[in-house]
């Protein structure tokens, strides 16, 4: 069994040396925009964070016509030239490989350094042991090694699902993190992805809108830079320290829950070309009266005075653009273990114990949120006061919000972001005990 990963390691090295990617090598690799010579992310690459979506190609059929819609997760980055690089989660990448057209995998410019070679390595590492290679060899003798089969899968010529003799790896993919060894080179590049963001995996969430190619850039000034800073989101209990279920509290106080958001500004650096008007003597056109000499050697006036704009310098501007909160929702939901405890264990000792109200819409519902921006930093806060939690146990707090995105002089710089945070709070109950 251990020979298979070794085989794939060998193949990975082999493919790195001899790419079999459908993407042909370019003179200047676009990957040089992403990683420096030491393999680290370049400082001008914008970290767009993790984007989640629920694509149809990650739908898993269950018996009785039911289906499980799995989430696709991508950690995305944007390069200075507007290319988008994404690192999918292991399960996402596997389902992308199984559905190369629908998932947009086939539209990518391949993976880092060796096109689809890394993808084949990834498939070998996660599913190689589960491939029924003996059956595959007898029924598809054209494949001399597993990599040729995986290449056919990635090209949409083979359905990999029918060639497995082990099936447990599918669910195990979910426990693999972005840092897993199989994922280290699993970056997909979408050339010009920022401009065509609606067509790339993850869509336009947080994408920094590149400048219009129709507008020629200033001759010598560097292009704009965008830095997205990570926001701080919290949702937590404010008071009291140990809340009682409202039914047992003589004051019927309830619980105060606070949701807070701080979104640092998007830093937009741009350079303004500074021109100065300079006068000069140009050759006179027909019908114009000469009033200056075009050169020192001219004995009489042979030109007319004119002026032109001459580039002098680039003026650097730093803008702190507010990415304000556009909508905010907060909820509290009693978790399953607490419900099971109320109806089970508590129900056995206290007749009639039941769940009274398992979920609360805090915002909007108990309260509304208010927000503002100052110096580019935007905040939003919502205080849901005296929420009458009537059930004991752990309540899961969820905060979900969207931002407006950022604009500068009417031009969109970054797209709206979807942000979220979770928290919890404990509600207590006092239970009488018989003391002998």
């Amino acid at each position: 069994m251990k020979r298979i990963p070794q085989l794939f390691l060998f193949l990975a090295i082999l493919f790195s040396a001899f790419p079999l990617s459908p993407v042909q090598a370019q003179d200047t690799s676009p990957w040089s925009e992403v990683f420096d010579e030491n393999g680290n992310l370049r400082s001008d690459v914008i970290d767009l964070g993790v984007t989640t979506e629920t694509p149809s190609w990650m739908s898993v059929d269950l018996p009785f016509g039911q289906s499980l819609q799995l989430d696709a997760n991508y950690h995305r980055f944007q390069t200075a030239d507007g290319n988008v690089v994404l690192a999918p989660s292991a399960s996402t990448l596997f389902f992308m490989a199984m559905n190369p057209q629908e998932s947009g995998l086939a539209d990518s410019a391949g993976m880092m350094s060796n096109g689809y070679g890394s993808m084949i390595t990834f498939l070998g590492l996660v599913a190689g042991d589960s491939l029924d290679w003996n059956r595959l060899q007898s029924e598809r003798p054209q494949y001399k090694d597993p990599s040729q089969f995986w290449n056919a899968v990635l090209s949409g010529q083979e359905n990999a699902w029918t060639w497995f003799s082990g099936w447990g790896f599918i669910t195990k993919l979910l426990s693999m993190s972005f840092d897993d060894v199989a994922m280290r080179s699993a970056y997909l590049m979408y050339l010009n992805g920022a401009r065509n963001c609606a067509l790339i995996p993850g869509g336009c969430s947080g994408i920094v809108i590149p400048g219009d190619p129709e507008d020629p850039p200033p001759p010598v000034c560097p292009g704009p830079q965008v830095t997205i800073q990570q926001p701080t989101l919290t949702i937590k209990k404010l008071a009291p320290a140990n809340p009682l279920v409202v039914g047992q509290d003589p004051e019927k106080r309830g619980v105060d829950v606070q949701a807070m958001v701080t979104i640092p500004p998007v830093i937009f650096v741009w350079h303004e070309p500074i021109y100065e008007e300079e006068e000069f003597c140009r050759a006179a056109n027909a019908g114009e009266t000469p009033n200056c000499k075009t050169s020192n050697s001219s004995l009489v006036n042979d030109g007319v005075e004119d002026s032109e704009l001459v580039f002098k310098e680039c003026l650097r501007h730093v803008e702190y653009l507010p990415d304000a909160v556009a909508s905010l929702q907060a909820t509290a939901t009693l978790d399953g273990a607490s419900k099971a405890w109320i109806t089970g264990q508590l129900g056995q000792t206290h007749y009639g114990a039941s769940v009274h109200k398992e979920s609360f819409a805090l915002v909007p519902g108990f309260t509304t949120w208010s927000g503002s921006c100052s110096g580019g930093t935007c905040t939003a806060v919502a205080n849901a006061l005296k929420v009458p939690f009537a059930d004991p146990g752990n309540f899961n707090l969820k905060l979900r919000l969207t931002t407006t995105g950022t604009q500068f002089r009417g031009v969109t710089i970054t797209q709206p972001r979807n942000l979220s945070a979770d928290g919890d709070l404990q509600v207590y109950v006092t239970l009488p005990a018989l003391v002998p």
């Binding site: 009785f64 819609q69 989430d71 099936w167 447990g168 399953g336 109806t343 398992e358």
Partner: protein, 180 residues
């Protein structure tokens, strides 16, 4: 040569003994449990995996919307592999939205049909699932399913339902293996 003599009484006793012995053999033959068609004895791993498959499938289709998704997940996850639990958990919100809207209350009976595939760590079992009523969006109360059980540190556990192309491949493989 010594002459053996039987008294009349002894002769009757001997004949009676022979008669009773014969009758006894006949009676035992008639009332003793008949040998049944021999069934292969399941190994401990098979028994454990079969049990995991039945319990996990029953837990998955034991849906009571009034109890809620979290309790359902908690019960299911106590019977499934960790990764199988994470797999279902990932899509549970959308699945349960439908069940809650339809106020679903369903129980399942699961009968094992056969073991389809087995390795040291994985077993696939074909099962017959009967529901007390159809699930939302379906009109069926009976269906066959192929269930994967995985060996974990705490024994065999339900992992997941196989997908349609995986099932088709398994059936084709079985048919080929059964061909003379």
């Amino acid at each position: 040569m010594k002459e053996i003599t039987f008294s009349k009484r002894n002769t009757i006793l001997i004949l009676l003994t022979i008669l009773l012995t014969g009758a006894g053999i006949l009676l035992i033959g008639r009332f003793a449990p008949q040998p049944v068609a021999s069934e292969p004895t399941l190994s401990p791993d098979q028994v454990a995996a079969e049990e995991a498959v039945i319990e996990g499938t029953q837990a998955f289709f034991h849906i009571r919307s009034e109890v809620g998704k979290d309790a359902w997940l908690e019960h299911f996850c106590s019977l499934s592999t960790e990764s199988g639990c994470a797999f279902i958990e990932m899509g549970a919100d959308r699945l349960w939205k439908k069940y809650t809207e339809a106020k679903t209350s369903i129980q399942a009976t699961v009968k094992v049909v056969e073991q389809v595939s087995a390795t040291a760590t994985e077993q696939v079992w074909k099962v017959n699932v009967s529901l007390s009523e159809p699930l939302p969006g379906s009109n069926k109360t009976q269906e066959e399913a192929y269930v994967l059980a995985m060996k974990t540190d705490t024994g065999w556990k339900f992992d997941r339902f196989l997908l349609e192309p995986e099932i088709q491949a398994l059936i084709e493989r079985q048919q080929k293996e059964n061909k003379p």
